[in-house]
Symmetry: C2
Amino acid sequence: MQYQRKLVLYIAMSLDGYIATKNDDLSFLSVVEKEGEDYGYQAFTDTVDTVILGRKTYDKVMTLVDTFPHAEKETYVITRTQQPSIGNVNFYTGDLNDLVSGLKSKPGKTIFCDGGAELVNELLKLDIFDDLIISIIPVLLGDGIPLFKPGRHEGKLKLVSSKSFETGLVQVHYLRD
Amino acid sequence: MQYQRKLVLYIAMSLDGYIATKNDDLSFLSVVEKEGEDYGYQAFTDTVDTVILGRKTYDKVMTLVDTFPHAEKETYVITRTQQPSIGNVNFYTGDLNDLVSGLKSKPGKTIFCDGGAELVNELLKLDIFDDLIISIIPVLLGDGIPLFKPGRHEGKLKLVSSKSFETGLVQVHYLRD
């Protein structure tokens, strides 16, 4: 049997489909902050050994922290500008399909796409996600950076689960059908 | 005690936030068609005595049927062009806030906003919806007419319920917070 790793999108959006304001502000997430509730994030990242994320998202994260949060995992920052690796963090300028297909063909744990919207939409166009896990925040942000951009193809999904939480967050989990 | 009627949005969208393709095609809804399952639509419309909808949506509906589906309810088609009423169907060219405030100030049952996106976004800008009931269809439509358009204000919501169905439809119900 061929082993097949999964590429998973795990992300939060407002009900109106934004992942941040136009100024990259994420403070709308605070409405679901609750002590001791991580909405399954730790359990999910425990299944992950590889992270891919866009360069702008990486830069944004690094303005907020000293050490990359997934520093112990194999990480690929998708960028147009070559630069030397920093520990496990690699800067990847090649073909995205080759990267993901290559990772999927090797044994390993889940590959986590940590955003942002530009990378997500490139991966959606390649139809290469296995699972989408989206936390819907009970907010209408009104404007911002949309998770889904127009200009993709239609694709069916299979609902795996839907969970709602006391804070009003609804987490939906789909497989590509 | 002042009686307060509710203005409710009850609508279906794809996971990527579209209510139809750019050509007004609704065939993506067929993935959740199941005999005997109406996702609560009849029970909802039983609470409704007044319907408001946009003129383009009304015209689209009337290309599909001979008799307006809500003909027995008081109906307001929001339009820029005056025309005589047809039975209970009134064509309203006045101020939208006045219409809804006027309806809400009178006793009656639920006021159902039946779309389309243009009217929904005008009502969202007026911050006049009481409830949003959105059925998320397990499809990425890829492109189309977005339910939520940018350029609104931020607003918090309160989750009332979230239900998932065998077909993969997830229905979320929010109150304006």
